[in-house]
């Protein structure tokens, strides 16, 4: 394997490491509020008793929870992880490291710019910031800077790849770099919607340069970005399951060609599906909702390929370790390795999250779940566990690799992973059930006058799950801090666990390593799925909604 390794410079490691420091800090602060929301549902309201000395309202907390966890923890972790996989996969430094550094600083400036108005209760608009509820302009500008910063880091990747391709015209793109590039390209197509919403509508409107907006049009812009956003979170986790986890478990990737094929399908199908978040919107015709429902079902297909390939790779690992019989290989997997454990348990809960997602995507069935507690129950299984627990698992090997220090308290890490798994099962199951019974999301249910008796037991379980997750998240933060501060040193740098594939990637078809046809395909699908509705919604827009910003209380 030594021929495959590549040494990152100390400077490159520091650059990547700072992404993770900001990501974990965001998770540590943002996650504080989640459990307090869960406890509020159970009737233990700390927002009126204790948190009111520091924060203005439940919704300031909920905005912090959504923005820091769903936007900042993910984006900072992902740009850091992609930087690593670009350099390590291509075995060459970034072509223009200063360009990537510029992108990074823009993200940091954006984060601070958005955080100030949130902490002053001037942007308690949640992470979907639907107009005409209006936040302080600094919030919109900050969010824009974070996104544009991530784009600039992406441009740095493209230029690095272009240079590598010139030097290696006939080699298949190394899988981890290939996946990093697709993730970034998908993200840049996806964020065009939010860019239009922020730059054309929200920023000028919040600055008083435009009198009114058409909120329906802005919902359409938002969900152009909002759904592929979840694939931006998910693809790096898939990347780890495909290209790292098999090696960590002691095996090889089952199918290089299907891994690549599934990523191309994600590039094609992640974006033209946004109307499945708008099934109950008044301004989108039924027929177009149906079209997006069919396209959303299509995205399920590459996820099924992923499920098969990842499980087959794990079976390969388990059999290499001496596992026998139909399921004996499962027991032989290294369940005591916190990084492997985190990804296995993340995968299990993600499976259920995927099924729930299919329910949400199912057109008229969405009438039962839309804006109910079912939805946060669902995405705490997907982004909250499938993605987040996988990212934690990645950090359990990545931090020792970057710092050349051993993981501090490996047992704590194992306990942490199990706590997350158990806490999330309790929390998420209760949220799903109470959502089906009709409980709304984004609502301090302790203050709601319409709560029937039958919800009480489920709301109690929401609170209990939240308390367990509170311990789980801070145990994770403790392991991270301990691992960075420990005085112990490793004698040699750990090798990043990049998996080989069962068959030489050079035998993977060449059309799976060509960009133009896939990009053209993605553009055509977008024009079909969004073109007619965007033309219609823009040409009939009525910009009649003035800003509302005196409704945050506190």
């Amino acid at each position: 394997m030594s021929a495959n390794t590549y040494q990152l410079t100390a400077k490159e490691k520091r650059f990547i490491g700072w992404h993770f420091i900001f990501a974990v800090a965001a998770l540590a602060i943002g996650s504080l509020f989640g459990p307090f929301q869960a406890m509020e549902h159970a009737g233990w309201n700390f927002y009126d008793k204790f948190l009111n000395h520091f924060f203005h309202s439940y919704y300031e907390g909920l905005t912090l929870h959504g923005v820091l966890n769903a936007l900042i923890w993910t984006t900072f972790f992902i740009t850091g992880f992609l930087t690593f996989t670009m350099i390590y996969g291509l075995k060459r430094p970034l072509r223009y490291p200063k360009l990537n550094a510029l992108g990074w600083w823009m993200m940091v400036v954006g984060l601070v710019t958005a955080a100030v108005p949130i902490l002053r209760n001037q942007a308690s608009v949640l992470y979907t910031f639907y107009p005409p509820m209006k936040a302080h302009p600094a919030f919109y500008i900050g969010v824009t800077l974070v996104v544009v910063g991530s784009w600039i880091e992406g441009y740095g990747f493209y230029l690095t790849y272009y240079q590598w391709r010139k030097e290696n015209p006939n080699t298949r793109t190394p899988l981890i770099s290939f996946m990093a590039l697709i993730t970034m390209v998908m993200w840049q197509i996806a964020t065009l919607g939010a860019a239009a919403e922020l730059l054309v509508d929200l920023i000028p409107w919040s600055l008083g340069l435009r009198a009114g907006l058409d909120p329906q049009l802005d919902r359409t812009y938002f969900w152009w970005t909002g759904h592929p956003l979840v694939y931006f979170w998910l693809l790096p986790a898939y990347m780890s399951w495909y290209a790292f986890l098999p090696r960590q478990a002691g095996g090889k990737l089952f199918s290089d060609s299907l891994a690549r094929f599934s990523f191309w399908l994600f590039l094609l199908l992640s974006v033209p599906v946004g109307f499945h978040h708008q099934y109950v919107d008044p301004g989108v015709p039924e027929g177009w909702k149906m079209v997006h429902s069919l396209l959303t079902y299509s995205v399920f297909f590459p996820s099924m390929i992923t499920a098969f390939t990842v499980v087959a790779s794990l079976e390969n690992a388990g059999r290499n370790r001496g596992g026998k019989g139909l399921l004996g290989w499962l027991a032989k997997l290294p369940w005591n390795d916190p990084s492997v454990l985190a990804q296995l348990l993340a995968g299990i809960l993600f499976f259920f999250g995927g099924i729930g997602g299919l329910v949400n995507a199912s057109y008229n069935i969405n009438l039962v779940t839309h804006n109910t507690a079912w939805v946060p129950g669902h995405f705490h299984l997907t982004v909250g566990t499938g993605v987040t627990l996988t990212f934690m698992g990645i950090l359990y090997w990545m931090v020792p690799y970057l710092t050349k220090r051993p993981l501090w308290c490996k047992k704590c890490a194992v306990v942490q992973v199990w706590l997350w798994f158990i806490g999330m099962i309790i929390f998420s199951n209760a949220m799903h059930v109470v959502g089906l019974l009709g409980a709304p999301r984004r609502t301090p249910l302790g203050a709601a006058p319409y709560i029937p008796e039958e919800w009480a037991g489920h709301l109690l379980r929401v609170g209990i799950g939240g308390v367990i997750l509170l311990f789980a998240v801070y145990l994770f933060v403790a392991v991270m801090i301990g691992s960075v501060l420990t005085k112990k040193k490793l004698s040699e740098e750990p090798e990043p666990p990049v998996a080989d594939s069962l068959l030489d990637p050079q035998t993977t078809p060449r059309w799976l390593d060509r960009w133009v046809p896939w990009l053209v395909g993605a553009a055509i699908l977008l024009i079909i799925a969004y073109g007619p509705q965007l033309v219609y919604q823009i040409s009939t827009a009525q910009f009649t909604s003035p800003p509302f910003d005196q409704i945050f209380g506190g």
Binding site: F254, L258, D281, S293
Partner: protein
């Protein structure tokens, strides 16, 4: 490295798995289509536009409320605003078919009629509409399901269905 021929290398099990996945999706899509077309489980479709700043000039929303259009057939015009529904209570006899038309005077709201298939996003400038038949007498809460400001949790109304 004996065989350098390019191919997808799809395992027979994986081929089966892929076919079953596709079949499953076709069945699911068929099911929701049948539910939508044959059983009338509909999602909102555009019905009208209004100016949220001039609802008092609108023919239908100037005086929101319940209108009987035929025996046991009603249209309910409701305005959502921070943090109430107007009207917050309507009464119909059991067996009634009610078509709801809901709009917003200010920010976005939600309109979820508990224990029915009525669930709508309320967007200023748009009118959201769905129809429901009330067979069982009782009280049906309609609650705001979209965050609309600090007192969002208190925003609800009810349909009283009399025997």
């Amino acid at each position: 490295m004996a065989n350098q021929r390019e191919s997808m290398h799809i395992d027979p099990y994986e081929r089966t798995w892929i076919l079953v996945s596709i079949l499953m999706l076709i069945v699911f899509f068929g099911a929701i289509t049948v539910a939508g077309l044959s059983f009338g489980v509909r999602v909102p479709d555009p019905v009208a536009r209004v100016n949220p700043n001039k609802l008092e000039e609108s023919i239908t929303f100037a005086e929101p409320g319940l209108k009987e259009v035929a025996p046991k057939r009603y249209e309910a015009y409701i305005v959502a605003q921070t943090w109430t529904f107007n009207p917050a209570e309507i009464t119909v006899p059991a067996g009634s078919i009610v078509k709801f038309y809901v709009t917003s005077r200010d920010v976005q709201h939600g309109f979820k009629l508990q224990n029915t298939n009525v669930n709508m996003q309320i967007v200023p400038g748009q009118v959201s509409s769905l129809m429901v038949k009330f067979d069982e007498p009782g009280e049906y809460d309609f609650i705001c399901t979209e965050y609309c400001g600090i007192a969002h949790a208190t925003m609800y109304g009810k349909v009283i269905v009399t025997p």
